[in-house]
């Protein structure tokens, strides 16, 4: 292959290294106003009065409340429970109540501080236990946004046959996406032309749908344009609909362009994070180490509104039993309401939580059965032809056992384990350990999601004889523009430089679906490939393109075609491969078109003077189908591993009354370059029949396996099985001290 599998230059790379790329905050309009959001401090209550203190020329400010909304006051997504601006009721701290705009952004900041909200408080609910116990009912009838029951076999009859029954409880904390570019939108809106927004966002058509409802305008009166986006990781999946609405409401009322950019404090405190979780496992095993049954109770904290929680829960549920064969499974999964800002999409989308619990539980079982962690997994790996928890027949060549062997070799696992064991005895304070995890991650939307989305992608020839891809799939750093160009160039048999990518602008591109769920390469990439095949076919049939051709002949053929017919544009629409079947009612069937498979090994060092844990070496080995761009793909995994290290060790959201109180980069700690040891990435490639050139998805995968491998290594180093993350020095200290007390 000429382009697939090659390290071509990143499409927009030059602009990024010279500072020429225009991000949202780099865009201004003449006569533009700045906007800010006035938010509640109370976590739950009834809004009585808004007080505007003296000393501010309030008449100069554009003010927007829920009364100014032309259409519906909810963020259109799945449920219609979340208002754009609170209408009397407050359900979480930092809920938006009032919007202000003014040309002077310094005065605007001062004005925001001079508004106070009088709220009659209601009793709130702050965590999963309180919500499940229905301490107060804060959402719907029972605080439950969504519940799934996933069943396979008959779990109730396995307990008496089991040689071992092992129980455990696991907790994961919230995690901030921490894209380095904060959220922001610029809006122009008026009744004549409708609403146009530019923004840092992942899913232009989500915003488009939300603005249609907010303004009660038809599709053609709403236009959403993605600007260069400085990282998303899920954090710019659903939340930009909120900011876009706010900016557009201010623009609509003032008649002027409005820029609404969050500073870091606001972005950290007010926007979505990864759902905290609580998982209980009960596992039945035979004396040979075969898993006979798994009963899993999986609960997520959704925050105050439903947002995407039901979908996050779904992915978490399906991944809860992992890549292991088990005939009897019951997963009861719930996502519940609390009075905190809503949690939302974050790379991995529910799977990192349930996989953390399962992998830690398997380590626990291995210790109890006196098997190595590796061996217990080997005895249970699912294989081709076997059924997952949802009853999906694995028809990929699953190579987990091979991956395990390779990961053991690459990390020198056995030797390291022995070496650390003997060194640790001699060293009082420095303890080293090595640990592992094995897991899978489904690519694309869950179940019937892709069929329902019917994603569409366009491709057209330009006057210059180039090919332009029309897609709403956004470049957010992961390399969409580059891999789409590679796929198109390969399928068309022309130079990579002849491919252009249209700006994701809803007025110009069809809806290729949201940029989420590790779907861009596998699902939308396939549409690129099939659109390219159509274009080639049309040019051939028109007689302008011979059966063999050079790139310049191809360009000429495009130009001749345009001269004659004025337009060459094709669309390709997603068609579910016929072998994929899913039943939403019974929650059974083919949950994902394809899975990526992985074994990760972490090597860590603990200093028992400071209780700090550092990752010294990390081996990330995965099978992801054909790798389109080795450097970009490795970059995805390395970045994901670093986020996983943060998730497992550093990134703790500190809550007080439903509010994040460490909302600064100084005290919410993400890994720096000095914290990341060597990350070594290895790919195995087993081409997937329905992916472009055989590719699957990789974006989310790395987040699933890092934290459990690290916790496994901590257990190996000091014999402490810590069932929660992040394992900050404080957490480690707590467990270490209580262990000494217990023993």
């Amino acid at each position: 292959m000429r382009w697939i599998g090659k390290d071509v230059p990143r499409k927009e790379g030059k602009d990024k290294v010279t500072g020429a790329s225009r991000y949202i905050d780099d865009i201004t309009f003449p006569d533009m106003l700045y906007g800010v959001t006035v938010r509640s401090e109370t976590s739950r209550g009834i809004l009585q009065r808004t007080v505007f203190e003296e000393g501010i020329p309030w008449e100069e400010f554009t003010q927007v409340t829920c009364k100014d909304i032309p259409g519906n006051n909810y963020v259109a997504l799945i449920e219609t429970d979340q208002p754009y601006l609170a209408d009397g009721k407050i359900n979480h701290p930092l809920e938006a109540v009032l919007l202000l705009a003014h040309p002077d952004k310094y005065l605007l900041q001062e004005a925001r501080r001079k508004v106070s909200l009088e709220v009659d408080p209601l009793p709130p609910v702050y965590d999963i236990e309180e919500s499940l116990n229905q301490k107060e009912i804060v959402w719907g009838k029972d605080n439950v946004f969504k519940e799934y029951l996933l069943e396979k076999g008959d779990i109730d009859q396995v307990w008496e046959k089991a040689d071992h029954i092992i129980e455990g409880e696991y907790k994961t904390g919230a995690q901030e996406q921490l894209y380095i570019e904060t959220n922001g939108i610029v809006a122009v809106a008026n009744p004549e032309e409708g609403v146009t927004v530019w923004g840092s966002l992942q899913c232009p058509y989500y915003v488009h749908k939300a603005l249609m409802a907010l303004f009660d305008l038809p599709a053609d009166k709403i236009r959403v344009i993605q600007t260069t986006t400085g990282g998303g990781f899920g954090g710019k999946e659903e939340y930009p609909s909120m900011i876009a609405g706010h900016a557009a409401l201010l623009a609509w009322k003032s008649g002027k362009p409005v820029k609404l950019i969050y500073d870091r404090l606001e972005d950290l405190a007010a926007t979505t994070k990864r759902h905290p979780s609580l998982t209980r496992h009960k596992m039945a095993l035979s004396s040979e180490g075969k898993i006979l049954g798994m009963e899993i109770d999986f609960v997520l904290d959704g925050g105050a509104y439903a947002t995407l929680s039901s979908v996050v829960l779904s992915r978490g549920t399906i991944h809860a039993a992992g890549p292991y064969l088990c005939e009897n499974v019951r997963v009861r999964a719930r996502v519940v309401a609390t009075n905190t800002p809503p949690h939302g999409a974050f790379r991995g989308f529910g799977a990192p939580q349930s996989i953390f619990a399962l992998e830690r539980h398997l380590d626990k079982a291995a210790l109890q059965l006196n098997l190595s962690k590796e061996e217990l997994r080997r005895r249970n790996f699912i294989q081709e032809g076997q059924l997952t928890a949802t009853g999906q027949v694995i028809n990929e060549k699953v190579s987990l056992a091979d991956l395990m062997t390779k990961a053991m070799e690459k990390s020198d696992f056995q030797k390291k384990k022995e070496q650390f064991h003997s060194e640790n005895k001699k060293n009082k304070y420095i303890k080293r350990g090595i640990g592992l995890s094995s897991f899978f991650h489904g690519a694309g939307f869950t179940g019937s999601g892709e069929a329902y989305l019917e994603s569409m992608l366009g491709m057209e020839a330009t006057k210059e004889g180039k090919i332009r891809i029309l897609s709403a799939s956004t470049e957010i750093g992961q390399g969409t523009n580059t891999i789409f160009s590679q796929i198109a160039a390969e399928a068309l048999g022309i130079e990579y430089d002849l491919i252009e990518i249209s700006v994701p602008d809803t007025a110009l591109v069809p809806n290729s679906g949201p940029t989420v769920a590790s779907r861009t390469c596998m699902i939308v990439g396939k549409l690129v490939e099939s659109a390219a095949i159509q274009v080639k076919e049309i040019l051939r049939q028109s007689g302008f393109l011979a059966s063999t051709y050079s790139s310049s002949e191809f360009s000429k053929a495009c130009q001749s075609y345009l001269d004659k017919f004025s337009q060459l544009r094709v669309f390709s629409k997603y068609k579910q491969p016929t072998n994929i079947k899913w039943d939403d009612q019974t929650y059974r069937g083919d949950a994902y078109g394809a899975y990526a498979w992985a074994v990760y090994v972490a090597e860590i060092k603990i200093d028992l003077r400071t209780y700090e844990t550092t990752v010294e070496d990390f081996v990330a080995l995965q099978e992801v189908g054909k790798v389109i761009h080795p450097t970009l793909a490795a970059g995805q995994i390395e970045g994901g591993v670093a986020q996983g290290i943060g998730y497992g060790l550093y990134e703790k959201v500190v809550w007080d009354k439903g509010q994040m109180i460490n909302n600064q980069m100084t005290n919410y700690i993400m890994p720096t370059s000095a914290d990341i040891g060597k990350i070594r990435v290895f790919f195995e490639e087993a081409p997937y029949a329905h992916g472009p050139a055989g590719a699957k998805g990789i974006g989310e995968l790395p987040l699933d396996g890092v934290a459990p491998a690290i916790s496994s290594a901590i257990e190996n180093a000091i014999g402490l099985d810590i069932p929660e993350i992040p394992v900050t020095p404080e957490t480690l200290h707590e467990y270490w001290v209580s262990r000494k007390v217990n023993s």
Binding site: D7, G13, K16, T18, D26, E181, E638, Q664, M670
Partner: protein, 154 residues
């Protein structure tokens, strides 16, 4: 406080800008001079996205009041390439995958250049330490380290 005239050299060109003396250098660059390559990630000296050179030294422009650059030489990412000819560090970031979303990249490149000016052949650990003031959420730093190593070899 009233605006004052601030004279300084920016990317080799002498300029006078009238600005509030406490305006952050970051805002002066972005708003008055339209040099938007310098980014804001935190506004409190933690992320390094706003890194520029003042008198040849790497600083966080979000922490510097404009008045402080009176009479100084300031260099931003826009002044790094020589016309169309990219700096070897830029070349290397481009080739080795050192930039993903790109928002940390201008600051990271400034920091890498500063590192190489001080130490033309840093060890892996020295690169790790040398860039620790610049946060990147996309790359896991690995490809950034490679970019710096490769730039040294040019």
């Amino acid at each position: 406080m009233k605006k004052v005239d601030i004279f300084f050299t920016i990317n080799g060109v002498k300029k006078t800008v009238s600005a509030h003396p406490m305006k952050r250098l970051l805002d002066l660059l972005r708003e008055e001079l339209e040099l938007t390559g310098t980014k804001e990630g935190c506004g409190e000296g933690e992320c390094g996205a706003c890194s520029v050179f003042v008198e040849g030294k790497l600083v966080n422009s979000c922490l510097i009041p404009s008045l402080q650059v009176q009479g100084c030489e300031v260099k931003t990412i826009e002044g790094v390439a020589d016309g169309e000819q990219l700096h070897r560090v830029q070349e290397s970031f481009l080739k080795e995958g050192g930039a993903q979303c790109g928002i940390c990249t201008p600051g990271m490149i400034m920091a890498a250049i500063a590192l190489l000016e001080e130490n033309s052949e840093p060890s892996y650990e020295e690169i790790q330490e040398g860039l620790a003031g610049n946060l990147c959420r996309c790359t896991g730093y690995t490809k950034i380290f490679t970019s710096v190593v490769k730039a040294c070899q040019k």
